[in-house]
């Protein structure tokens, strides 16, 4: 399924990128409060959504793996952890650039940003554990993933409760509910969801191939072919 779905999803994502880019420049209204820099919003927010989704997928699949100990859930957990780390890096970088453009500051240690950084560090931790922790790496990483997933509601609540963070549509109440801004943003979310699926499927394939290599090596060692 994956082999055929990946090119289709990648193509749909590419179309979505082009359409979203065109709409955000030519269709979405100009935000008078956040000015031109508000255009970062249309890809920054979808990346944040994908960070949450990828982390949730990682947490749930880890939980299932801890219960069933099935390889496919382990593969999905690792793949989604890596993709979540990628989206997390994108959110932190684009958010930082936006903050510099809008408020002339790259970073501030406020709750929302600090929590987002902690979530990202947890995801990087999962990837590192999987790589270096040895035989029990899968279970350690799964536990860490479940722990990391618990951070999502806190970050989401803090972003919505924050006085400083620009909300959907930004620019104050007048633009916050502007349907054109919302339309372009949700199109961005759909596009990056397809992109998220593409990357996870690609990574799952890769993880499955790594597993196959390990199994073949074990066979080779047992047969005395490899030393």
């Amino acid at each position: 399924m994956s082999n055929k779905a990946i090119p289709v999803l990648a193509t749909l994502s590419a179309i979505g990128f082009v359409v979203t880019l065109w709409l955000m420049y030519s269709f979405a209204p100009f935000d008078r409060a956040l000015l031109f820099n508000q255009k970062i919003f249309y890809w920054h927010v979808p990346h944040a959504f994908m960070l949450f989704i990828a982390t949730a997928v990682c947490g749930v699949s880890s939980l299932i793996f801890l219960k069933k100990r099935t390889a496919k859930w382990d593969d999905l957990a690792l793949a989604s952890a890596e993709v979540a780390a990628l989206f997390g890096a994108a959110v932190l970088i684009t958010g930082s650039i936006w903050a510099k453009a809008a408020w002339d500051i790259w970073w501030t240690w406020e709750k929302r940003l600090t929590m987002s950084l902690l979530l990202w560090l947890t995801l990087v931790g999962i990837v590192l554990v999987r790589r270096f922790a040895g035989a029990s790496a899968d279970r350690l990483a799964a536990g860490l993933a479940v722990f990391g997933t618990l951070g999502i509601p806190f970050i989401y609540t803090m972003v919505n409760a924050s006085d400083h963070h620009p909300q959907a549509g930004a620019g104050g109440a007048a633009l916050a509910s502007h349907p054109d801004i919302k339309l372009v943003m949700w199109l961005g979310v759909l596009t990056f969801f397809l992109w998220f699926l593409t990357l996870v499927m690609m990574r799952v394939q890769s993880v499955a191939a790594e597993r196959e290599v390990r199994e073949l090596r074990e066979k080779g060692l047992d047969a005395g072919v490899l030393s």
């Binding site: 000015l35 890809w43 970088i93 090596r217």
Partner: protein, 116 residues
Amino acid sequence: MRTWIIVVLCLVPALAVAQAPPAAERPASELRKICADAMNADPSFSESIIMTINEETFRQHKTAGDAIAKDQKHVILAYAALWLLAAGFVLFLWRRQQTLKTEIAQLRRDLETASK
């Protein structure tokens, strides 16, 4: 003597005028009224004042607008960062997958050869 009297009589008022304090500034309301009267009396004077004000306002708006329109640096920087991250990850996956495919094929060949 008469000449001296005439000279003194002329010099005293001249000195008085020279040392007199400057006339008090006119209040703003009076200046405003004078300006309004002048503008009403001469339409071209009125138009020139309005044009000057408009040009200045227009210039300020244009400068601000240009600054906003030209401030694409951060947007481009953010998009470039996203694409670099995505491209780097895809490249990593692709190279990893190629290496794994080669390795799997080699291991299978070795195992088949060993089993014969």
